[in-house]
């Protein structure tokens, strides 16, 4: 029978165990990933399984690495995400966090747009580092993305996003993530998208100042607008933004973008224990 071993099609005996594959194909390997999930050496492989064998602590070649990254992703899902393009409008607390997660998840192309440079006051919630202070945010973010997943195509625009350039910036995006700080900019982008790219879903981050209050962070859909956040906690003097709550909102936006790209995940079910199912 045929399986995929480190992304290459190979023929194995039915009933073969992982340990036998290691012996034959990659002596020294001490970790097996089967269909995107670590498995034991005693596991018996089945036809069309995707098996990845690696040696822990050994840095793989660039080519091998791409295969390994792909292998860890849910099969099928990865192929579809690789063809997708997500626009990120603003690279601050929401945008930098959403972009990193979508890059790690394997979205093929990210369009990132922002005008600012990294400042010390950004580090309390944005995905930048002390040694990046002074770099343009789009450059710093593209660098961090490359270190996390070198196979994402990053399209950088160091521009102030205004109504006049929204269409040119995001016409190729399948989904756009609104990631501004100021309410007037959020409104500008939503207005512009609804008028100029009405078919492109826009995922808005709306209300995430302070800390705690997890269950107020919800998602609602209004036509092609998807709104994540508590829709109430406005940042201002003495009511600052903090990494956990802003980041949670950003990752809900990224997660919503995946649902838009892939459709609802059929494997997710409600908890029987939290939401008992009548018998």
């Amino acid at each position: 029978m045929k399986i995929y071993l480190n992304e290459k099609k190979v023929t194995v005996t039915p009933g073969a165990k992982v340990a036998e594959l290691v012996k034959k194909h990659k002596p020294g390997a001490d970790l097996c990933i089967l269909n995107g999930f670590p498995c034991l050496m005693e596991h018996t492989v089945a036809a069309n399984d995707r098996v990845v064998l690696i040696e822990k602590g050994k840095r793989p070649s660039k080519r091998e690495l791409e295969h390994l990254l792909a292998a860890r992703h849910t099969p099928g899902v990865h192929a579809r995400l690789k063809k997708a393009c997500v626009g990120i409008a603003g690279c601050g607390g929401l945008g930098s966090t959403a972009a990193m997660a979508l890059a790690r998840a394997g979205v093929g192309t990210l369009i990132i747009a922002d005008f600012d440079v990294v400042e010390p006051s950004n580090l309390n919630r944005q995905q930048y580092y002390v040694d990046q202070i002074g770099e343009a945010k789009v450059d710093a973010l593209a660098g961090n993305i490359r270190r996390a997943n070198p196979y994402v195509q990053v399209v950088k625009h160091r521009v102030r996003i205004v109504r006049q350039n929204v269409k040119a910036l995001f016409r190729d995006a399948d989904v756009v993530i609104e990631a501004f700080d100021r309410a007037d900019q959020k409104l500008m982008l939503a207005d512009a998208m609804l008028d100029l790219l009405p078919k492109t879903p826009l995922v808005i981050g709306n209300g995430m100042a302070g800390y705690g209050a997890n269950d107020l962070l919800r998602t609602r859909r209004v036509g092609n607008l998807h709104i994540c956040g508590d829709e109430a906690s406005e940042a201002g003097h003495g009511f600052g933004l903090m990494a956990p709550r802003v980041g949670a909102c950003a990752l809900l936006q990224a997660n919503q973008a995946l649902e838009i790209l892939l459709g609802p995940d059929p494997r997710i079910t409600r908890s029987e224990i939290r939401n008992p199912i009548p018998r």
């Binding site: 945008g95 100021r182 309410a183 959020k186 207005d191 709306n206 209004v222 829709e231 906690s233």
Partner: protein, 65 residues
């Protein structure tokens, strides 16, 4: 009767968006309004009439990100 952000709200003749926002006390500066999924621009709030049975969505955009 109309639907506003998932809540029922009484309809009456001459109910403009401007009037509806007053009735709901939605006096926020940064707002998006959609009627049955169609975007209504701010400059049309006064002369856009809500019809009985319409589904109205209001989003209040707030600072933070």
């Amino acid at each position: 009767m109309i639907n506003v952000n998932g809540e029922r709200h009484p309809w009456h003749a001459g109910l403009s968006i401007t009037r509806l926002l007053q009735e709901k006390n939605y006096v926020f500066p940064m707002i998006i309004v959609q009627i049955n999924g169609a975007h209504v621009h701010e400059e049309r709030y006064a002369d856009t009439m809500v019809r009985d049975g319409d589904d109205v969505a209001v989003i209040h955009l707030i600072t933070g990100g």
